[in-house]
């Protein structure tokens, strides 16, 4: 069990290394340096000076090694754009992204399990048909369009919910205010995972309901609720955990678009801005951080796996 975990951690670390190296290569190989230096108004001698100051005239592997060494010590450099320490900048944004993505994930999982289960148990009923169709729509709808639709309905027409930001500027913090800002983005972000998970839960429930142990449980005279909840569902959840592992990077990626539309102050939006302004330290830091989040969540998923299916650790 411990070896399994260690192996996964090692894999995760490798992924982080490779990703950071690749991103570093991409960012530095691109034509033109940071946006500041690209500016034709800047005196070429000043530009040269800045390059030297920022250490941009060293060969790329040297720069990477330097960045890596600093990163391991927690120093991610200073943002070119924001004149703040990158770590500070990122640190301020992480909780917001975690709040949004976490809420969305929670919504998705909490709703998908019962929906998928009911769909599977009442297969081919009108309810099942409706749920399956809705799930289909859910995986096909573009995130930003759903967002715009919701904004049109709830902000423009009804005026019930704010259409951007995390908190209302100028007013003291209130949980209600936060929640009102959180509802739409998290629903939007949760849609795709919810739809995808519902389909998975349904199909794996259908499969597990056909298994012998369910027949046995029923033959034993167990109440149907127990048969479903304790036996069929447990086994159906295993593939779902796998899907969660694949969905997480997508969720964090989806957060980028959602955060941009709703002007949510999170990592995703920061990363987009940094990419556009060629703010190297922030790009590198943000990508590294997001990848780290994915790796951590994958590790958690693996742990969850072990809890649900002890057979895995024995492999």
């Amino acid at each position: 069990m411990r070896r399994y975990l260690l192996r996964r951690v090692a894999q995760g670390a490798t992924v982080l290394f490779v990703v950071s190296a690749v991103v570093f290569a991409i960012v530095h190989a691109a034509p033109g340096g940071p946006a500041l230096l690209n500016n034709p108004d800047v005196d070429p001698r000043m530009a040269k000076e800045m390059e030297k100051l920022l250490g941009l005239d060293d060969p790329i592997p040297v720069q990477y090694a330097r960045w890596l060494k600093n990163a391991m010590l927690g120093n991610l450099g200073r943002s070119y754009q924001h004149s703040m320490s990158t770590a500070e900048l990122l640190g301020a944004r992480i909780p917001n992204t975690l709040l949004l993505s976490g809420t969305a994930l929670l919504l998705a999982v909490v709703l998908a399990i019962p929906l998928g289960m009911i769909s599977a148990v009442y297969r081919y009923s009108a309810l099942d048909y409706a749920a399956t169709l809705t799930a289909f729509f859910g995986v096909s709808i573009p995130v930003f369009w759903l967002a715009i639709l919701l904004i049109i309905v709830f902000s423009v027409t009804l005026g019930w919910l704010p259409s951007s930001g995390m908190l209302t500027v100028g007013t003291p913090f209130s949980l209600g205010d936060l929640l009102r800002h959180l509802i739409m983005p998290s629903i939007v972000l949760a849609t795709f995972p919810l739809a995808q998970l519902t389909r998975y839960v349904r199909s794996s429930m259908v499969e597990s309901l056909a298994q012998d142990y369910v027949r046995t449980a029923r033959a034993k005279g167990l109440p149907e609720r127990r048969v479903l909840g304790r036996h069929a569902l447990r086994n159906a959840l295993i593939p779902m955990v796998t899907v969660l592992g694949v969905l997480t990077p997508r969720l964090l990626g989806g957060a980028v678009v959602t955060e941009t539309i709703f002007a949510w102050p999170g990592l995703g939006r920061l990363a987009v801005e940094a990419a556009v302004t060629r703010d190297y330290p922030v790009i590198l830091g943000a990508t590294l951080l997001v990848s780290a989040l994915v790796v951590v969540s994958n590790l958690l998923t693996d742990l969850l796996y072990l809890v649900i299916d002890p057979r895995i650790a024995l492999r």
């Binding site: 991103v23 729509f137 096909s140 715009i148 199909s203 994958n298």
Partner: protein, 296 residues
């Protein structure tokens, strides 16, 4: 399962249910899929014939008639710079579909190559390729896509490449699985024993067997490509205006959602219907081409 191919009697399909015309009959039973196919054919035809349909110029701005309501001249009205919405929708279909299909080709090419090689050789190459594939699945690819496009510029080629190179992993897995399934079969063993070269075995024997699953993966891949392209264009890093694409039509629409919410409806609906159709088609193809997999 392997021998089912050779000993037809073990197949769950009835004696009269194999063959292409029978596959079509099975497909027809899925009404959603038939609708989806019809819709897609129409959309593709319209997109392909766009320049000859007698529409307004999609890129001509007319700042005197912004947000115009539908009229004889502008059947769906105009957008925030006075461009005709209908023709932008049609030409947008052209661009969005072209990009998505091209990206799918890239993804299929890369994925098939990597999947086939890893399945065929096994051992160390397989390990490396599969680790790489898993790694790519872990990485937040949309992020990387944004980065690459921001850094290297958003021309059409880059967009196609970026979408293709972030979507090949599923194809690779599918192809590898198919190759592994087909390798032990007798006709493959025979071919290799007779001295068939690797290329020959792959192309003549293994890949044809993988074709049905590959087609399904490719169809679902186009759905993914359409969604991704529209997201990238919406964010301003995909296809650049004034070239219309459904995604970047929504960028403008969002700004003016307080003034003219209708503008947001058409492109988004188009994207959704198209992606839905590709998804439905892919699912139906999956059931049709291998009913053993049909779970629902």
């Amino acid at each position: 399962m392997q021998t089912a191919v050779l000993e037809g009697s073990a197949s769950p399909l009835a004696a009269g249910e194999r063959g292409v015309s029978d596959a079509w009959r099975r497909f027809r039973r899925n009404r959603l899929a038939v609708l989806a196919l019809a819709y897609l054919l129409i959309v593709h035809a319209v997109a392909a014939l766009a320049p000859w349909l007698g529409l307004q110029e999609p890129e001509t701005m007319d700042l005197l008639s912004q947000f115009a309501p539908p009229s004889r001249e502008h059947v769906l009205g105009t957008d925030e710079t006075g461009r005709d919405v209908l023709s932008r929708l049609v030409f947008g279909a052209r661009t969005s579909l072209a990009v998505a299909l091209a990206a799918m080709v890239v993804a299929v090419a890369v994925g098939t190559m990597l999947g086939a090689l890893s399945g065929f050789h096994g051992g160390w190459p397989e390990s490396v390729i599969m680790r790489f594939t898993d790694g790519m699945l872990t990485v937040p690819t949309f992020f990387l896509a944004l980065l690459v496009l921001a850094v290297f510029g958003s021309n059409l080629v880059n967009v196609v490449l970026v979408i293709g190179l972030t979507g090949w992993m599923v194809v690779a897995r599918v192809v590898r699985a198919e190759v592994l399934r087909t390798l032990p079969q007798e006709f493959v063993v025979a071919s290799r024993a007779l001295g068939g070269s690797e290329a020959r075995v792959l192309v003549q024997h293994l890949l044809p067997q993988a074709l049905p699953s590959l087609i399904v993966a490719a169809t679902l891949g186009v759905a993914y490509a359409v969604l991704t392209e529209s997201a990238l264009s919406y964010l301003g890093l995909g296809v650049q205006p004034p070239t219309p694409t459904w995604g970047n039509m929504l960028t403008g629409a969002q700004h003016y959602v307080w003034k003219s919410p209708v503008l947001a409806l058409y492109p988004g609906a188009a994207i959704m219907l198209t992606v839905l159709s590709f998804n439905a088609l892919g699912d139906a193809l999956s059931d049709t081409l291998d009913p053993r997999h049909a779970g629902s």
